[in-house]
Subunit: 300 residues, 4 copies
């Protein structure tokens, strides 16, 4: 995205005067080898950083190492970034440096179903969900009042087969203009183009229903009803060009019974969807989700 989380929004304080204390969150991954944690914590310690939370994971299968560490520091961010860049080069690291208390600039995309949007906006306002919802985009007008009740600008961008390219261009323009860092597909019933998926890779979260066994195609709740499933689930995942197959962030289920009609199943499903999506967005916004190929490492 245009305003990556790793770029300071304002110019760093000049070195001559001490910076105020910042609470930063560093996430990184690299090929595993001895000494990484020591090197990283050394870079932080030399700058007087105090680690407040830290998790690591070494994937034996892929040989990759993952780390998330939060640190209180008074050192100017630019100096820390220089140190990390050096480390990154030594260890072939991919890394990001975010701020613990800065909510992610988030764009929510919707169609007509209100359950996920309502829940995200409520949690952002009252329940400490660390996102700053800078806009809601709908391909229909239905949810404008919900966005506006929460004081969030709503933009309607209708999509047809003919206007899809144009609509996506408008969307990308908005992403740039608003400095969007995270896009949440909150039951946005449109498929993003491959190029858009690629462009926003790792920064778009989607939610969809899930069952055991799973069903492809239309009317999934009718299929689930016909099959007599006893559990209704939902999966939140990063969007990739491979529809509904991106890296899974979170999943959950709720119980169903023979007495549930397809509509009742759908309502139970929507309940799980909003809960799972909110959890996934929270973890992502707290920089707790790291990509590991087509999987995720989540440090909850």
């Amino acid at each position: 995205m245009t305003a990556p989380a790793t770029t300071p929004a304002t110019a760093p304080a000049t070195p001559s005067e001490p910076s105020p204390t910042a609470h930063l969150v560093l996430t990184l991954s690299c090929p595993d080898r001895p000494g990484i944690v020591h090197a990283v914590t050394g870079a932080l310690a030399r700058r007087g950083g105090n680690i407040t939370e830290s998790s690591q994971f070494g994937d034996e299968e892929t040989g990759l190492f993952f780390m998330r560490v939060t640190v209180l520091t008074r050192v100017p961010r630019s100096e820390l970034e220089a140190d990390l860049a050096e480390l990154a080069s030594t260890y072939s690291m991919r890394w990001e440096l975010g701020e613990v208390d800065r909510p992610l600039r988030t764009l929510i995309m919707v169609s007509k179903d209100a359950h996920c949007l309502t829940d995200l906006l409520f949690r952002a306002r009252s329940q400490g969900l660390p996102i700053d919802v800078v806009g809601v985009v709908g391909n229909h007008e239905d949810l404008r009042p919900v966005a506006e009740f929460y004081g969030v600008p709503f933009r309607c961008i209708p999509v047809t087969k003919e206007t899809k390219a144009e609509a996506e261009a408008e969307l990308l323009g908005l992403v740039d203009e608003l400095g969007v860092e995270l896009v949440v597909l909150a039951r946005y019933m449109q498929i993003l183009s491959e190029s858009l998926c690629e462009r926003l890779r790792g920064n778009v979260i989607n939610i969809h229903h899930s069952f055991l066994p799973s069903f492809k195609g239309a009317k999934p709740y009718h299929q689930a009803h016909a099959r007599g499933v006893k559990l209704i689930g939902a999966t939140a995942h990063y969007v990739t060009a491979d529809l509904d197959e991106g890296p899974i962030i979170e999943q959950d289920v709720t119980r169903a019974s023979h007495a549930d009609s397809p509509v009742a199943l759908q309502r139970k499903g929507q309940d799980v969807e909003r809960r799972v999506l909110a959890q996934a967005v929270k973890w992502h916004a707290e920089h707790r989700v790291l990509l590991n190929g087509n999987r995720t490492v989540v440090f909850p």
Copy 2:
């Protein structure tokens, strides 16, 4: 099976002397229409039966009606059966009459994994699971000691492509000889032939792993690991000729994380498997599961 649950094992008491009180469970299904509950409860009431538990369900979609009722009665069973047979003819009912406190004669089939067998035998002995395990059949010798510790005869019936027909004939012989009413596939890693499935229809319960999304083919836990699933599940279902697609009785899941190796996932899966299988067997043995086409109605 040879000894259906609806047949009294001993001759009924002669009408001249009052029968002892019996606690019976009646399950039935038929096309829905006004008056069924009244007619059924009337048949029971006229015989002085006292209803202790009762559930009904009308499936709007299929137009079928389902009922389970438990009743305390002193009337000879044969008379009750005569009344019910008449009702059944009027309402085109399928029905079964079981005894609340009589454990089902159960045969458990296994291969090498002990988790489901151990759990079922323990629950049958100590936790009130209402089954009488009359035998354990394994296609390997591995679990003989487990069966014998619980005082249950173990029979090893190896199966190869060449001997499959013969092995199934031996199995059916055992089912007849032991008066088996329920067969539980407790991680029995063999596929039953179509004819055997048909022969034992509605009386064979299987357990298998389940994921969201689901995976076909070999090494499912490795596939689940590769996909990074956050839930591991299991499904208990009646066996039909359509492998792993029979009517679902019960499902459940447990949480997984990126830190779980394929082996760890498998162990978590086994934990869910034994829990889900025990629940399904309990409900079946308590006559709480009714077939509704390819689905079940469960009155828990």
Copy 3:
């Protein structure tokens, strides 16, 4: 309450012309004895009623019998009521006759926390929660905008020690005036007087946090944090004069860890609270909850 659920809001159709089909829900309890189900279903069948759902439960301990039955009927309601009154006298029944598709007239009471109110209003509008929220009463002004966004009148009735009697009188006036059938205390941080509890008995639902073990007194989430609990729960119950000890309708929990601050625990708690309260209100509004002394029978 002034407008009991069993009273038809409009005059019954005259017997000379057939009534339109109504979908009614009958709930009843009485001392258990043979023949009750037969008698009740007979009363319904004689009037051409078709049972769509039905559940019964006999409590062996108290000797009480509970029944819920939904029925499609064209018979005038007054005639059905006459029949039921006769039955009730024979069997010493307590009974209520409601309408399946008529949402309960509901008053929600709040203080400052928005999570339960927001959730109930959303579910009533979009998720089929069968309540008609006719008013929101707050002892503070904070949640007026939420109510008004959903088009529900908000009344602020402040409460102090001195004005408590007066405030409750105003509340009761509102209950009468609006024909309120259900009062939901959605984190209303005031204790109702004994007389008010008595007056509205069985029609007021409250939600409160729950832990294992439980904690009395102020700052419960700080206590739970200090004790290091691994689960955070909530209980929805009918309000009685015995504070927080009324009949339990529903309970649930969510996981917590050492990393959760008291604030994080509270947010998790609020998540469970709104889910449990919504479930309890749904079951109550669908006439699925019957009182059994200080317990409930819930037919889900």
Copy 4:
């Protein structure tokens, strides 16, 4: 205990020849301050140790820091211990060094209920629960066959008010003789003396039922039934002199309904008990549980 986890069972390899690779697990806690992780990982890195898993937690409230790290190393254990001892003195650390693949020598204590014992023995044999059950002690003879089936010596130590001191002395003798590192009270219905609790502090795990709300005194499941609870739970905790109030390791619940008799509730409770106890024992045996005053830090 007599054979602390930090003492190598065999003499360390002489420095002149390289040790075989060991997989060690280090747990530590100390007052929080900058540089701890760097110092600890430095000590490991200097010895060529490769970190395979690592978690940290800083408790803002108590100002304490907790760390668990697993490391592959070829350095002789004694040298690593010398380094750690030095670090520990600098940072006022409490620390323990265990082996990842060495099962804990465990003594299980029982009375008459088999569910927890059966489950632990099964999981130790077949499900990778990393404990080596070196003995089972019962105050009754009932469970001797279960222990012996799993090839574990059973010792009956009856306890009466008069013989309690003597019985505990025998128990302690056994703990010393067998080199016991962990004692699990698997429904052992006796209260340990204060001095015994103190002597084995942090190495005894107990399981007990839990409800929302909680109940004190006898027949808890009858009380839970009378109160109409909708959840049945269990808590695993370290034993302290303050009965049932030691640091909580794990909790879980299962659903109950009005239809559950006290016996049914108890069976559901036993199901949760064995699951929660097994989870707590697993985490403890994997050195994932650290004491934080009267709470625990669990790195799952």
